[in-house]
Assembly symmetry: C2
Homo-oligomer: 265 residues x 2
DNA sequence: AACTAACATTGGTCAGACAAATAGGCAATA
DNA sequence: TATTGCCTATTTGTCTGACCAATGTTAGTT
């Protein structure tokens, strides 16, 4: 009969991977506290009965996830890291950017997701925004009014404006969810914006949003955000259609590289 | 004069890290296509003028991010990975779980974020849901009605129900944003739910949501979701207050471990 | 007391070797 | 013919042992 043997369950993964999983689990389950020091690499090698090179490969995996940091010297070693907000935001944004560059998301879908999340933020923000945040928004608006500002600088300021808007909602979890979606747009926006963006319109909508937050007027804030997103969507569509021919030329080398590549996996 | 020397720009980071960044950049910028094969470790070592061990540590960093996969043998090598949706969801959920376990997020904040995002999904879902998705929701509801289902199974089904709900919105970007926030709750919910969860109430609200999606009634769907979240919040609060004494006892060993740990960094 | 130099500890890198997996070719066998 | 066993080349996985580099400690010197 065919069910007589359990074909699965073989441990085929490398030692380094297994070890990194074990340490990772220890961190996630709290058996290793933040800022606690791991045993030295030598001792880990002894305890796991593998060589130090294998331990180091395992530790590199964790370091890549910012779960540990390492220092040399007598007081050195490998320490459990407390990931900072900024690092996590960067990780998230990088993942999201990768997804966009692989073509997993449509720009219009991202815009829709942004609209929904930022609308929620607007509703919460009118209650919770601080004066300092209002000033931060104002600073970005001022920066965006500067006609000598380069396009990349304008886009960066745009992203910062919306990041502050999300922060006004005073909900780290929502901030976390929004970070990927907002930052993922930046490179795409940068590619499009150089020709199509109407700065005055954008600044005007930013100004409307800021004023609505100041007056704690949720309706006005949402309306302004909707207008902003509507304009953004229109610009995307214009850019997409007008880039049709250029995009085909640009993507040709990639296709060639793809067929040349060894794809034996 | 003081500007004669450029004091910055010293490379203090390890070779492995620098190399992994270079390869990572090549992937993100499209110079390495998905499924394309990297040079062999030996050749990379030659080209970068480092040892193979260093190359391997660099590759491990990328492997930890699921950017590459490796296979042995003549047709083997290191290949650029196309991250699957499922892997990314797992990565996101793991990051979110870490944040929760580090106490970065309050459960009530997560609930608020979930409510906002899932409300948006409900509004979109009533227009876009498919019959297959309705059936998937129905299946989870049936599973949740089974009184013999263990608590962990009930929670898992609950998470799946809401995941399908998010999928109904037919927006991958929104799905991406929601994944972390929803899955981050699972372990916390598991810890709380064993005593406090009223299954019938949960199932009833799930049923209301499903029916509202079936009838494409956005108002009803949102109302049911709000009720679900309200109940969840109440349960959190009950659990938090009633766990006051027990939590103190549970956290004692951790505090001891913390003071015992070498925190020389 | 303050500075200096040697020392010990620990991660970072290197070199070379062998083990293990895997594809392809080749021959023996039913 | 089709299957099986075996050999070989290639590439990643792991091991060993060594030395380099950073850094806190400590003893010695001024």
């Amino acid at each position: 009969m065919s069910g007589a043997i359990d074909y699965r369950g073989l441990v085929t993964e490398g030692l380094a991977k297994q070890i990194s999983e074990k340490i990772r689990a220890a961190i996630l389950e709290g058996r290793l506290q933040v800022h606690e020091r791991l045993p030295t690499e030598e001792e880990l090698a002894t305890r796991f009965e593998v060589s130090r090179a294998t331990i180091r490969e395992a530790l590199k995996r964790l370091a890549a996830q910012n779960l540990i940091r390492s220092r040399r010297g007598p007081a050195g070693g490998n320490f459990v890291n407390r990931p900072s907000r900024e690092e996590l935001r960067a990780t998230l944004a990088s993942t999201a950017t990768l997804l966009v560059s692989l073509g997993e998301f449509d720009l219009l879908q991202i815009a829709e997701a942004r609209e929904e999340i930022e609308l929620a933020c607007c509703r919460l923000a009118v209650e919770r925004r601080t004066d300092a945040q209002l000033e931060a928004l104002e600073r970005e608006i001022d920066a965006q009014r500067d006609a000598t500002l380069a396009d990349t600088g304008f886009c960066a300021s745009d992203v910062r404006f919306h990041r502050v808007l999300v922060e006004c909602a005073a909900n780290p979890a929502l901030e976390f969810a929004a970070a990927g979606v907002i930052e993922a747009l930046q490179p795409a926006v940068n590619m499009i914006v150089f020709r199509f963006r109407d700065r005055r319109q954008v600044v005007g909508q930013h100004e409307r949003i800021r004023r609505a937050l100041e007056n704690r007027d949720a309706e006005a804030a949402c309306a302004a955000l909707r207008a902003y997103m509507q304009a953004l969507r229109t610009q995307y569509r214009e850019a997409q259609t007008s880039r049709g021919a250029g995009a085909a030329r640009q993507s040709a080398p990639r296709a060639a590289a793809k067929s040349r590549a060894h794809r034996r996996a």
